[in-house]
């Protein structure tokens, strides 16, 4: 058996998405920007616009508020740098959290060098932001707030509706990195007062290398990618038309099947939680209720994460670790560190992220192998 439990890292592209995309590499390969004289290109353009519509619908946004990018990282970069560039002369403050994805954190580092002030909201032991802290932190100089919808490592879902309300009351732009949440839980950009929102196709069974930035009409944002006239002059670069069309198809599928997926992953997650409950010394990280349905971050006493990962992999099971042990990243995960885990405990943390392709029998297998592994490696540990 090969059991893939690392869907937070990336997902398998749905066969229906692949099928839809393929002719946009072969017969319908033309550049959609030539649609005014090429009928085949017009077909591509129309299909791309359908994708745009699909994304807008699922967000409760308008079609022309959806822009296509190369993925979540670019969308995050654009949201923050684009607002900074539009406010180059007056500079100002940006408020974010210490548990954002590195695509946001590294972008904030760059924007700090440009002369903007970066302030961080505290998070509690679950990685949750308290909206009251935001009220205290906002000043007249605050330009932008960037708080992720749901955290990729520990699954905690942030109170973005409250954050959006506070941002709106104070005339501050609100960006949310929804890479882990879009197509898995509900998002309404109007109800939640979101101005900018990042998504990435390969997190919801779409292709890699394509994503979106939602930009509320009226927001003054500078382009991040300079060059051509694509995307209303705001995001240059020949459209990744097969990718965009694939993204749109994946969104359409999620619109129909998201509830089913939620039920399925919750059921399977509970199977793991119930087994884990009966093993001493295992702690679940992140908020107990307000968390992504598919995410399970486990800190296992007396068992090294790399060891558990390798052991599971040899048995055909793929999960991920809470911290990297490679020469490139010798430190523990910044998210785990922020919520209070010691370096040691961070190195004992694994992340299981389920997906719609997982089966109950795979979880039964995981439970057996995992429990045996915990026992095996604990027996080997010194007292």
């Amino acid at each position: 058996m090969y059991v893939y439990l690392n869907n937070a890292a990336t997902t398998k592209t749905d066969g229906r998405v692949l099928f839809k995309m393929s002719k946009y590499y072969s017969e319908l390969f033309e550049n959609p920007m030539t649609s005014n004289y090429s009928p085949l290109a017009k077909n591509v353009e129309e299909e791309m616009e359908n994708s745009r519509e699909n994304v807008a619908k699922l967000l409760n946004a308008k079609r022309d508020e959806i822009y296509f990018t190369s993925g979540g990282t670019e969308s995050d970069n654009w949201a923050i740098k684009g607002i900074a560039l539009s406010n180059w002369d007056k500079k100002g403050e940006i408020i974010s959290t210490p548990i954002e994805h590195m695509a946001v954190l590294k972008t904030l580092e760059t924007v700090k060098k440009w002369g903007f002030d970066i302030k961080f909201l505290p998070v509690d032991k679950y990685g949750m932001v308290d909206p009251d802290d935001l009220k205290k932190l906002i000043t007249k100089k605050t330009l932008l707030i960037s708080v992720m919808h749901a955290n990729n490592e520990i699954g905690t879902i942030e109170p973005i509706e409250e954050i959006g309300k506070i941002a709106k009351e104070n005339g501050v732009i609100f960006h949310t990195d929804s890479v882990q949440s879009f197509c898995h839980i509900d998002i309404d950009v109007n109800k939640m007062n979101i101005d900018l929102l990042s998504i990435s196709a390969h997190k919801f069974y779409g292709p890699k290398g394509v994503g979106s930035l939602y930009i509320r009409k009226g927001i003054d944002i500078s382009p991040f990618m300079d060059g051509g006239h694509q995307e209303n002059e705001l995001r240059s670069g020949t459209h990744n038309s097969p990718g965009i069309i694939g993204l749109g198809e994946a969104v359409k599928i999620a619109t129909d099947e998201m509830e089913e997926e939620k039920k399925s992953v919750l059921f399977m997650k509970k199977m793991i939680e119930d087994r884990v409950k009966n093993i001493e010394g295992i702690n679940i990280n992140g908020h107990p209720e307000k968390r992504l349905p598919n995410n399970l971050s486990l800190t296992i006493d007396r068992v090294n994460a790399e060891t558990m990962l390798t052991y599971l992999a040899v048995n055909g099971i793929i999960v991920s670790a809470g911290s990297a042990c490679s020469a490139k990243e010798k430190s523990a995960s910044h998210v785990l560190k922020t919520i209070g885990l010691t370096d040691e405990l961070a190195h004992n943390t694994i992340r299981i992220s389920l997906g719609k392709f997982n089966l109950v029998k795979e979880i039964e297998y995981f439970n057996e192998v995992f429990e045996y592994g915990v026992k095996k490696f604990r027996e080997m540990a010194p007292k």
């Binding site: 790399e306 060891t307 040899v314 490679s326 010798k330 370096d343 040691e344 190195h347 027996e379 080997m380």
Partner: protein
């Protein structure tokens, strides 16, 4: 598992000589608190030979594989040879490993050699 050789995986999945020795002649510890790695080696010596080697290990795969390898390789060997080994010994026997993996594996050499040094000092680590 391309980065790990068959030998490495074998030692990792089926580690030899795991355990403790009561009344050990030498006990040595290798520890990396930041990474949560800890290895304890126990040895029994007779006529300058390592007649029994056991260890307990908490750490990454290379800490386990290297401990297992050392315990198997040096069983019944002369104690003097054990003090000469370094990471090249691990690379030769476990396959060419990336630098960061070697760093983790070093801990087993430290613990093993500490056990020998403990024995030479009269074996007081057991008390």
């Amino acid at each position: 598992m391309e980065i790990y050789s068959k030998t490495f995986i074998d030692h990792f999945m089926n580690p030899r000589n795991v355990g403790e020795i009561e009344n050990a002649d030498g006990i040595g510890i290798g520890e990396n608190p930041q990474k949560g790695g800890k290895i304890v080696f126990y040895i029994k010596v007779k006529d300058n030979k390592l007649i029994d080697i056991k260890y307990k290990v908490l750490g990454c795969p290379s800490a386990i594989s290297s401990s297992s390898l050392i315990s198997e390789f040096f069983k019944d060997k002369l104690i003097e040879n054990a003090l000469k080994i370094d990471t090249n010994f691990l690379k030769e026997n476990l396959g060419n490993l990336p630098e960061d993996v070697i760093e983790c594996a070093k801990l087993s050499i430290v613990a093993f050699q500490n056990a020998i040094l403990d024995y030479k000092k009269g074996g007081n680590n057991g008390n």
